[in-house]
Subunit: 330 residues, 2 copies
Amino acid sequence: MVTIKDIAEMAKVSRSTVSRVLNNSGYVSEDARMRVEKVIEETKYTPSQHAKSLRTKKTKIVGVILPTIQTETSSKIVTGLGKEFSKLGYEILLANTNLNREKEMEYLDLLKVRRVDGIVLIATNTEPKLLEKINEINVPLVMVGQSIDGVMSVTYDDYHASRELTSLLIDKGHERIAFIGVDETDQAVGMRKKGFLHEMAAHQLEVSEAWLEKGIFDIESGHVAIEKILSNSRSSNKIPTALIAVTDRLAIGAISYLKKQGIHVPEDMAVAGFGASEIAQYLDPPLTTVDFQNEKAGEQAAIQLINYMHSKNHSEKIVLDYRLIERTSI
Amino acid sequence: MVTIKDIAEMAKVSRSTVSRVLNNSGYVSEDARMRVEKVIEETKYTPSQHAKSLRTKKTKIVGVILPTIQTETSSKIVTGLGKEFSKLGYEILLANTNLNREKEMEYLDLLKVRRVDGIVLIATNTEPKLLEKINEINVPLVMVGQSIDGVMSVTYDDYHASRELTSLLIDKGHERIAFIGVDETDQAVGMRKKGFLHEMAAHQLEVSEAWLEKGIFDIESGHVAIEKILSNSRSSNKIPTALIAVTDRLAIGAISYLKKQGIHVPEDMAVAGFGASEIAQYLDPPLTTVDFQNEKAGEQAAIQLINYMHSKNHSEKIVLDYRLIERTSI
DNA sequence: CTGTTAGCGCATTCAA
DNA sequence: TTGAATGCGCTAACAG
């Protein structure tokens, strides 16, 4: 591999001069610059970013830890991150935990070893051990989707979005509303449940335990959850007339089951989700959902991290706006 | 930042010894090892991968260039790649071109600058300029989804999958089949069209130009394409009874339009796609599609690249099997 | 405007 | 079993 030394010799200048033309820094005579550029062109020389990083202490790499890349949420966030980071010449080192929480910790260490300039953590929990590790590695870090005290973050307004969605359903005359949530260690998504419960309470509407189920983040579990809800509530004869699922995928799974059972959406049961997945509008019926602007979240997180790394002004916590998308599934 | 030198001093040994315990190489007395490990633990020392790379000429990073992360195809491939690479301690540097072809070239250079050990290119074209650049940078590289002579690759059997799908439709009595393709520079997807045309020809079935349209890789353009096909063919009174779209998303867009027009699927028009997207089975009606096993493609590509990098046996070209998934949309 | 020098953090001879 | 010395490829004073 050809190095800066080779270029220097071939162009009959010193390595410093080559470095100068490489980085456009300091004075270089037109003559010298030309010679150097010519040699670089001829040899197809590409400087080693590693050697450079070793000197400058900047890698221009940011690590992105995520639970899975196979959701629209994650991929949109990553797209947003990429847009902003690439503007400044940062590249993304991907750390996919595949929903394995221990790996979240491992990757934090690993990214430190890689000397990334910063880390974006698309987290699924807010356990104390996580905060501990974050402090230990001492690398600029921003969380997306979850929030911990003392850590920069970009989050969604899950709570109010959920209240508003619930309110919308109530306005439409629904009094028995079912809810499919997820594991409670996900605090952010937990706020969707809280918002739902509060809004119901605010309207003096009771929520039966029979209407509350949990799924994981796939379509199939939406299917399973609504099945349980129906069987739970059939005995009490209090069958819900509406359903809120914390993700579009859960909602899709639920709708699929309902259709198979001959239960019409929205006539027999209104259904709404969260996430504004691309597919939502093409479903039959089109799905009511909440747009959390994931791509924008990614962009904001990138900007926030960049500002921090460059010690510019940066906000500690950013809470993004949401947008209710009402469609005919309710 | 604490370095190997600090550790050496604190443990009262030389840097070489620290290096030895770090890499488990050479002889180290139990006593010395203990002291070093203790200090490492206390100081939370993490060795710099950059300095290490500079010496060893190995970065343990592979670059992945892709057109967009926001498709199931890409994200599944990346998941597959991640699985295999992480087993060997390789990390993934993500290079998202956002469908910008010039960036494909730029990233090839950039990854060279980063001294990645290898590159996975999820390509959308096979232009000569691309091959030129690949040869120029001279970094181990494997393509996924497309194939060029002299470049390692993992591809799908687009051609036969398409023929088989077409054949299935013909068996079901369809004689007028429409086809939504994409830009022809995508050779791989182009084979799906070729397979379709060949199978039709093999059955002496004519294909009207009016039934051939193109979309891009989103749902909306499926919508638009089928609209055109219908208006094209209405005049000739040869309205197709079936439709093949080269991706599930195109098919979904088409179905959405058909439903709005009161055209029933599959009674009035059978519809099939490619890609086996997760959503396909939950559609109404469930979509017939072709599973190309993208995650496996990612795994295979990773294995292939790793073998090449370690100069083990590796196959030049891998063609993956497909699986036809027949559902009630046809 | 340019070259000399030093050193980033580490692995790897070579001697001891 | 250990340490001293060297250099990976580059940037950044500093002196000229």
